[in-house]
Subunit: 239 residues, 2 copies
């Protein structure tokens, strides 16, 4: 779009080889002819089918791997082709993290989006969480109180807590977005802990706040859980 | 993760050449040494710096292009290197669309996430929208009422309306997520129109609903706008 001239003309851009390969694979996926678990033809075979160079096929595969769309194939023979994956929250998280690093979004913007998604997540979790879900969350809070963990480990548990709550909402997309947003701000969150004189004190407060959220979920108190999680996140960013 | 054996051992995976290149560029971005607008060294130069093949550098560049992180460099000489981009909502949208096609998420899940983000977006837009923002939204509604547009064009206007509202919230990340989610379900939305006996009738109802949302925003009525947008989306999916 940025290449459109003011007079409305747009230079014609010829697709490069790997882009042709990408376009064909994407179309097969969008049409449902390729699904999660399916194996793509091997590099040589695909190059023959499409009448392009093996380098072009390989470049397209690298892109699809990076997008979490296929897993790399190894070796040769009938089982050597790349496999289509059905899951890519890691790739989504990597992408978000890179774009955050490129300063496209501010910390405030990420915090605001997180608050909205977290409010909804706990409200739904309070409706849907089972007794075993609550047990799982209580165990995470207990683990967060251990005295012999590092703040990196604490942060992992913290992230796991929020992602688990999001998954208990019954919406997998929400869980994926939550993990992507958390992973995207991991570096900044660790930096906050690094700067603290007494990170363990802050960690204990955070664990207390988590414990209160768990009990609101256990009591099916959506309104209470929502208010608690909003305060929990706002306080952290306010430092 | 799926490669971890039950006994906890995980096979060591050697990074491939392009992954080494990717890792170094990503690290420079995460450390802030490479920022939006910066030019990377040319393919040959970068291959020399890193002691790897030019094919490996090229594969890494293809990946970064697909992620919307760099724009491809052309030609040779000092200005031939790829440029780091600061914007990548298109790449994010492509990625989401592919993963939706791989059935990782259901239509219900996407609709629920959209409702949450749209509710928040209109509530904030009702607070922040200026007179010229409102004028812009009214113009989109007017365009949606034109009798001589196709349903593809109608859908573009519809998407533009929702993305504009999200951008008026003052949160750029929200605008990006909204566009990604809309683009991700474009095919399904067009399929709904295709199946309608009288798509223009439905389009007129949607335009009316948009008009009501605009007036709620103009009146700074966050509560009203929120309720209207929720009904607007739910009705569409209920079809």
């Amino acid at each position: 779009m940025s290449e459109t001239a003011e007079n409305g003309w747009q230079p014609v851009r010829r697709l490069r080889t790997h882009e042709h390969v990408l376009a064909q694979i994407e179309q097969q996926i969008l049409d449902g002819r390729l699904a999660a678990g399916d194996r793509l033809p091997g590099e040589r075979e695909l190059a023959d089918y499409l009448g392009v160079s093996r380098a072009g096929v390989r470049e397209a595969m690298r892109v699809l791997e990076a997008l979490g769309v296929v897993s790399a194939g190894v070796g040769s023979g009938p089982t050597s082709g790349s496999v289509v994956r059905g899951e890519g929250s890691e790739a989504l998280a990597n992408l978000l993290r890179l774009h955050l690093a490129l300063s496209r979004f501010t910390q405030r913007e990420v915090m605001e989006v997180r608050i909205q998604l977290e409010r909804w997540a706990v409200a739904e979790a309070a409706v849907h969480a089972t007794a075993s879900d609550v047990t799982k969350l209580r165990a995470v809070v207990l683990a967060m109180r251990q005295r012999d963990i590092s703040y990196e480990e604490f942060n992992e548990l913290d992230t796991g807590f929020h992602v688990s709550v999001a998954e208990m909402s019954g919406n997998a997309l929400l869980g994926t977005l939550m993990r992507a947003l958390r992973d995207a701000v991991r570096r900044e969150m660790l930096a906050v802990f690094e700067d603290l004189q007494d990170w363990r004190g802050t960690a204990d407060s955070l664990a207390d706040q988590h414990a209160a959220i768990v009990e609101a979920i256990a009591a099916h108190d959506s309104t209470g859980a929502t208010a608690l999680v909003e305060r929990h996140i706002t306080n952290f960013y306010a430092g």
